[in-house]
Structure formats: structure tokens, C-alpha cells
């Protein structure tokens, strides 16, 4: 008996619309899951943490904090630390969470369910962590008293967006390759790829989000002329659109690879073996 080439269940949705709808349904469902008081407390800590650090530094710095140094600290705290930590708890368990809850099988037997799970979780992780990052940045800027806070806020909104989009895609790989050890693998990936390879002045750092973020920070803050020569090795001189395009390509490659891996992953029913 052959399969008629129609969407049998008369859903009326063409394949692309159905795929987008499934992905959005997963994203909405994942965001509802994130609205638990435990996750909200963690998010609140993420929002407060950079502001608390900046406040503490300002109070202890006797001669006042240099504005550029303050911006650099904000960069280390928000697009790097807060976004990275947020994604570790939202993106890494994309598959492991479903396996633990016993919901994986419900999703795996739906047409495009695996792909929708990964991409929907990606969208939810980006939205949640991005929102936490943006709130953290706004609160930190409020206590930092920089001369041009709106300009800095605009720059950091872009950095937060690129950080969460890029890093969530990076963490999607450990999430599908080794779901039960995704957190450990993601921390390792962050350290090895983003911080070891990312700071290596060689071709390998071109494939890291951290190089693109640093380069965008330097470009948007117009710091390039003031940077010591040796620091030039750690940033890419290409214009911002090249950095953004590089992250877009990286995200596409990482997510495509993760989707393909997940489509063909098999999880044996543990009670059978």
C-alpha cells in the first residue's frame, strides 16, 4: 500500500508552514516550561549578578572606574558569562530533558518532531536567555553611570543577540550527540572552542563566536585605534557585517548538523535492554 502524497490528516498546512508551526509550538511549550519559580529565580539571579558586580567594583574603586574598563567588564559579565550560563541551562538539556520526562517518544513519532524539538528549543533558549541578558545589561548600565548609556545599550543589545544565537547553536551539538552528558560536554566545548581556540591567533579562531563578539565590540565601540598592537591579533579587522555574516553561517552549519544527527539518533527503550 503506497502512501498518497498528501498530508493525510487534512491538516491543510503545506510542509513549510507545518514545519514552522511545529517549531513555534515547541518554542512556546518550552517557554511555558521555563516559567517555573525555580527558573525564574535563576533568571533573576542572572539579571542582578552583573549589576551587583559593577556596583561593588564602583564602590571599591577609589579613583573611579575607567569607562572603557567598565564597558569591558560589562562585556565579560553579560554577553559572555550571563548568556553562556543561561544557555547551559536552557539549550543543553534539549534532548536529555525529553528523555527524562518520557516525552521524547511522543515527539519522535511525529512528522518532523525531532527537528521541531531542536529548533523550537533553540528559539526558546535564545528568547529566554536573550531576555535575561538584555535585562541584566540594562540594570548594570543603570548602576554604571556611563556618559552615553543609550549608545552602549544599543551595542550590547546587538552583542547579546549574537552571543545567544551563536552559543545556543554551538550547544545544540553536545545536546544531540551526548544528551545525558550535554552539560559537561557543553562546558568543555565552551572552554575548548570559545576560549582556547577563540583566543588563539590562528585560522581556527575564525570559527568561534567569541572572536566575532570581540571584533564587534571593538568595532562598535571604535576602540581599534586605541588598542595595543598585540591585542590586534585577538580581533578580526573585517567590518561588522562580515562578523555577523560569519556568525550566521556558523549558526546555520551547527544547527543543520545537529538536526541531521538528531533525525537519525536512536534511543533504545531502556526497559527492553
Amino acid at each position: 500500500m503506497s502512501v498518497p502524497d498528501v498530508n493525510h490528516a487534512d491538516s491543510g498546512s503545506p510542509p513549510l508552514a507545518a514545519a514552522v508551526g511545529s517549531t513555534l509550538a515547541v518554542a512556546a511549550f518550552q517557554l511555558r516550561r521555563l516559567l517555573s519559580w525555580q527558573r525564574l529565580v535563576m533568571a533573576a539571579l542572572g539579571v542582578i549578578f552583573p549589576a551587583a558586580v559593577m556596583l561593588a567594583v564602583r564602590r571599591t574603586a577609589r579613583l573611579g572606574l575607567d569607562d572603557d574598563l567598565a564597558v569591558l567588564m560589562l562585556y565579560a559579565l553579560v554577553p559572555e558569562a550571563v548568556c553562556m550560563l543561561g544557555l547551559l541551562v536552557t539549550m543543553c538539556p534539549a534532548v536529555a530533558d525529553e528523555l527524562e520526562r518520557g516525552t521524547w517518544v511522543h515527539l519522535a513519532v511525529r512528522p518532523g518532531g525531532r527537528r521541531a524539538l531542536l529548533l523550537g528549543t533553540y528559539l526558546a533558549a535564545v528568547a529566554w536567555t536573550g531576555a535575561v541578558g538584555l535585562l541584566a545589561m540594562v540594570l548594570a548600565l543603570a548602576v554604571m553611570q556611563l556618559p552615553n548609556p543609550l549608545r552602549v545599550a544599543g551595542i550590547f543589545a546587538g552583542l547579546v543577540a549574537i552571543s545567544v544565537l551563536g552559543r545556543a547553536a554551538l550547544f545544540s551539538l553536545p545536546a544531540v550527540i551526548m544528551p545525558k552528558r550535554a552539560l559537561v560536554a557543553s562546558v568543555a566545548a565552551a572552554l575548548v572552542v570559545e576560549y582556547a581556540a577563540g583566543f588563539m591567533p590562528a585560522v581556527v579562531n575564525q570559527a568561534t563566536v567569541s572572536l566575532r563578539l570581540r571584533s564587534l565590540l571593538v568595532a562598535w565601540m571604535t576602540w581599534r585605534q586605541r588598542l595595543p598592537v598585540e591585542i590586534h591579533l585577538l580581533v578580526d579587522p573585517q567590518p561588522p557585517w562580515v562578523q555577523i555574516a560569519a556568525v550566521a553561517i556558523l549558526v546555520t552549519l551547527l544547527l543543520t548538523t545537529a538536526v541531521v544527527i538528531l533525525e537519525f539518533r536512536q534511543f533504545p527503550p531502556s526497559d527492553e535492554i
Binding site: G12, R32, H106
Partner: protein, 316 residues
Amino acid sequence: MLSLTHVTKLYGTVIGVNDVTVELGGGAHGLLGPNGAGKTTLLGLVTGQLRPTMGRVRVFGERPFANPRVLRRIGFCPAADITERRATPREWVTYLVRLSGFAGRAAAVRADAALERVGLGEAIDRPLSTLSKGMRQRAKLAGAMAHDPDLLVLDEPFDGLDPVARHDLVGLVRRWAVANDAVAGPRTLLVASHLLHEVEALHAGLAVILGGRLVASGDADEIRELVDSMPSEIRVRCDAPRRLAELVCGTPGADSVRYEGDDTLVVATRQPKLLAERVAAVAAEDRIVIREVLAGDRSLEGIFGRLVRLHRGVGA
């Protein structure tokens, strides 16, 4: 509609299913076997969760693994309980229907209708964590049926249900199986269970799986016939078992005899009915007092037990 040809599934060195060949058409089918027999693996292969290590799986003429066209037509209710506790049945089933390709509004309508059908209309907006296991089981069933599949695969679907709910849902599933889809033709229901009476209640064809192997298939009567063709035992408690053994040994149909205690003779036979009549006749001729005759268990439960024992090499 569904065929497996010499299908083997290995998990490393562990065998999930072993060289299974079976073909199922429309209607209801039961997959019987004790826990760990390979039922869930077999269902995993049919529902596209697993890929066979060897052999060929076809559902609606195509391989189901990573095949959205086939998966769209399958509804699956797994054995594991839902631990998605904060969502309500309405949210959960709507979510699943959306993943089957339906737009938001259509998915909500279908979810509500399915939940109503399984008798969960009253609890539609209560968090799953506040529902009994039986009610969650109904929610799972609604999730499997809501997108109107052509093949419904249920793994231990009536587990945790009270007798009334079990009766209701057996009726619901049976009605689903006999109702033909106007466009796609007959529907197929495949139910895995370790409880024979559940499958018997569905009036389903049977396939018995054990140790990853399909050891018998057919309807209940065919399986009985199959078992009748294997040696079965008749226990005769009488006052002269040794004399009775002498008489029975020369009787056609008696494969072997042995004693159990001082007063019981056990006769193995492939023709239990004929042998029972013969035993009665020779006992009457020789004035042997027969106190009790016990035939092998002919209930489906007994047959299943015998197949299991035969497969394990314990003997009938």
C-alpha cells in the same frame, strides 16, 4: 499495511528483536509477551523510532524511520507515564497535534474532541500532575488518536486503569479499529500487552513474542491449534498408576508417560482428546478407579504460558 521481513534489532551485543517476519493488514492485532520480550523494540521499529540492524520494515509500503509521510499516519501511545506535570491535558494534546502538522486552532479543536472521546472532558484543564494514572493514560491515548491516524500503535494502553475505565477504553479502541476511514481505507490497530485478556477483549489477531522472537501468530483459535499440535500433558490420579501406564503405553497418541508421586500418571500426547477417551476406556475395562483427570490448560493464558515454557526449553 505493515510488514517486517527478517527484522533483527541489536543494541550493541544485546538482542532487541531477532529475525522477526510478520505481515499485518487492517483490523486489530495484539502483540503479546512478558516484560522484556521485545515488544517495545518491535513497536519502536514500526513507529519509526528505531532502525532495524538487519531486515526490512515497511509501513504503508515505506520505511517508517525518519519518514514524515509515514509518521503522519501513525498514532503512538507509549507505555511510559507522562511526567509532563504542569501542562493540562488540553495543552499537552494540542501540542502533540500541532507537531503532527495542524495549525493552532485546528489542533485545539481536535485535541478537545479526542479528550472528550476518551472521557477526559471534565478534567481537560487540570494539570496532569493532579490527575490519576488512569486519567493520564487517557490523555496519552487522546494524544495518539487526535490527529486521526491510519495506524494506531498502543503499548500497554490499559495499564493503571480501573475496570470500568478499562472496559470503556477497550470499547473505544475496538470501535476505532473497525471503523474504516473513508479516504484511506481500513485502519490498523496494534496493541502490545502482557495481559492476554486485554487483547482477547479487542477481538484482535495475536502475535506472541518472546526473547525477541515471534514464537506464534494467528487468531486465538489458530494459536490453540498450534499448541495442540505440540505435546501436552494429561494428569491422571488413580489407584493403580503403574497398571494404567502399561495399558496406556500401547495406545496410539501417547508419546511418553511418567509418574508423579504414588498415585499420579502423567501422559504426554499430541492428541489430548483421543487419549483422554482411551484412558477412560482402558481404566473402565480394568476396573481402575480414576479420581481425577487434569488436561493441560486450554485457556489463552495457559497457552501463552506453554509457549513461553516451550520457548525456554522447559517443556510443556
